[in-house]
Amino acid sequence: MLIEIKDLRKKYIMGDIEVEALRGVNLNIQQNEFVSIMGPSGSGKSTLMNILGCLDNPSSGQYIFDSVDVSLLNDDELSEIRNQKIGFIFQTFNLLPKLSALQNVELPLIYAGYDKHERREIAREALDKMGLSSRADHKPNELSGGQRQRVAIARALATKPGIILADEPTGNLDSKTGNEIMALFRELNEEGNTIILITHEPEIAEYADRAIIIKDGLIISDKPTSGNTAEVLSENSLTS
């Protein structure tokens, strides 16, 4: 089991009011799954995502990631897990605007301790894989939305984390580009990556194999998708 979550709760204090964003979530995700998490805004899906990504700690409950109890880890150890085992992809891409595409991809490798030569090579390979070799020296604002998200994916994959957490990855893209990106996720999943996708669009969630719906801090549905992903893909004729 890659991810084991038991009775996970998260409370926030907002002013004087205590808000319970997660109210006892139980969830298991296995290696190489492609899972989508859907829910309306305020449902707690982003909170869940942050905890899954080791960006935030639960208030109570247990989160075992890759056989390690995350709640017992300190800040440095959490940083290491984020660096080595998790690749983040965000709706707003979150590339550093002053760095070139290549330098953005190199970032996690710097923190992983690779030397200059190695990380340049790995970053180039990752960009190559995303079909962006010719854009390596461009700054993010010189790239299209789809290209930016591909750079972000290359960055997420740079340290070969094995699990990708994508938070509304298509939210800022037009539907054609969005579908291209989703096809890419499909491919990555077939190559052995575990993918957890947060979205509020059911048609995007369809790309996953398993759809989880969360509402008011609880999982209300967890089942396989209708299985017509292949059709969606062929409709967009992106399997090349």
Partner: protein, 412 residues
């Protein structure tokens, strides 16, 4: 490898915000420049002083006949004092155990002529030990020897200024010059010495390069006294074997001479090394004062850096969040921002060093003040700018490192 990356990011930031960075660095620039300029003035003054006192001899005690008016001189003579004399020299030589060498000297202002040129010079009667006590270096020829002294020979050693005025082209050695009404043969020329621009104790400032030295015996035997009542000697220079004994010897000498002079206050004792110490003490206080003023400028510079770094951290909250999300540890963020403030302060420091150097050069070029920049002062100033960078960069960097990644990544 991360350090290299930090430095690159820091420099890019600095170049990107040129004006802002420059304004931030101004405090450090002025602070460092003023530290260097200030220390260079202090160091210049110190070197001048050391040079001055070295010329007087650091192991020397000088007993000098006071410059008295005719009336005072009559009073003193009436009270049985004959002024400095060879008897004083003999007593000192016999009684004071710490003496290495002792040299009496007589002085008078003279008219010197060579061919159609003439000038005013100090005629100084000395014994052969004189040049050893004062470490005089010869440009050419040799100093007065014992034989010339014993036989009252009419020979003289001239200062560089006299040589250059009289003998522009030819060799002065062997030439005869006329001093008052005597013809003397030049046997040596002294190397040029630094000018005495200040009065040291009772030693009035004068140009040593215009001096003419003759054997003391010749001086007494062949030249008229400047005044009827003038003392036999103008000065006695005593070299002590060990500088540790200098004040003890000086005390003893003072007692001897005072007794001989029937307690008349007609001589003074100058101990160059003590005067040097005194001057250094005063200068140290002055340096500390100036140093504190410069330090305030560095402090203000440091606060400027802290201010701008706090603003930078705010501005780049999102960047910090992204870096943290993809695996940067707190220490990585801390060192990144400390590197940035260090880059600011060190760049400011380097510009400050350059400005300080040019300031110090301009000061010595445009004014009479001698300056001297030492490696030590540059290192001190530079070290200070590093300390300022780390000290005032720490708080903002700590703030950056402690930002929660989840909140900062959503920061707009």
């Amino acid at each position: 490898m991360q350090i290299e990356e930090n430095i690159r990011v820091a420099f890019n930031g600095l170049v990107e915000h040129k004006v802002r960075s420059f304004l931030t660095m101004l405090g450090i620039i002025f602070g460092v420049a003023s530290v260097i300029a200030m220390l260079s003035i202090g160091e210049g003054a110190k070197r001048e002083a050391i040079k001055k006192y070295q010329q007087l001899g650091v192991n020397n005690i000088i007993v000098r006949d006071k410059d008295l008016s005719d009336q005072e001189l009559e009073n003193v003579r009436a009270k049985f004092s004959n002024g400095l004399s060879l008897k004083d020299v003999e007593s000192i030589r016999n009684i004071v155990p710490q003496i290495d060498k002792i040299s009496p000297q007589a002085e008078k202002a003279s008219e010197v002529k060579y061919e159609d040129k003439s000038l005013k010079a100090n005629l100084i009667g000395v014994t052969p030990e004189y040049d050893e006590i004062l470490n005089y270096k010869m440009e050419s020829g040799s100093f007065i020897n014992n034989d010339q002294y014993q036989r009252q020979l009419k020979v003289c050693v001239i200062g560089s200024e006299v040589a250059s005025k009289f003998f522009k082209l030819g060799d002065p050695i062997g030439q005869s010059i006329k001093i008052d009404d005597q013809w003397l043969e030049v046997i040596g020329v002294l190397q040029s010495k630094a000018l005495f621009t200040e009065t040291v104790g009772e030693l009035a400032s004068r140009d040593l390069n215009s001096d003419i030295y003759v054997p003391l015996s010749t001086f007494h035997g062949r030249f008229d006294k400047e005044k009827q009542l003038a003392s036999e000697l103008k000065q006695i220079t005593i070299k002590v074997e060990d500088s540790k004994n200098i004040s003890k010897a000086a005390k003893l000498i003072e007692n001897i001479v005072s007794r001989h002079h029937f307690d008349n206050d007609d001589f003074s004792i100058i101990i160059p090394v003590e005067l040097l110490k005194q001057e250094e003490k005063e200068r140290r206080i002055y340096n500390i004062l100036l140093g504190s003023i410069a330090a305030i400028s560095l402090l203000v510079g440091g606060i400027g850096i802290m201010n701008i770094m706090l603003a930078t951290v705010m501005e780049r909250t999102r960047e910090i969040g992204i870096r943290r999300a993809i695996g940067a540890k707190r220490d990585a963020i801390l060192s990144q921002f400390i590197t940035e403030s260090l880059t600011l302060s060190i760049t400011g420091g380097i510009i400050g060093v350059l400005l300080g150097l040019s300031l110090s050069i301009s000061i010595s070029f445009f004014t009479e003040i001698t300056t001297s920049v030492t490696l030590y002062s540059v290192l001190i100033a530079f070290l200070f700018s590093v300390i300022v960078g780390v000290t005032f960069g720490y708080l903002p960097a700590k703030k950056a490192a402690n930002l929660r990644p989840i909140e900062s990544i959503r920061y707009e």
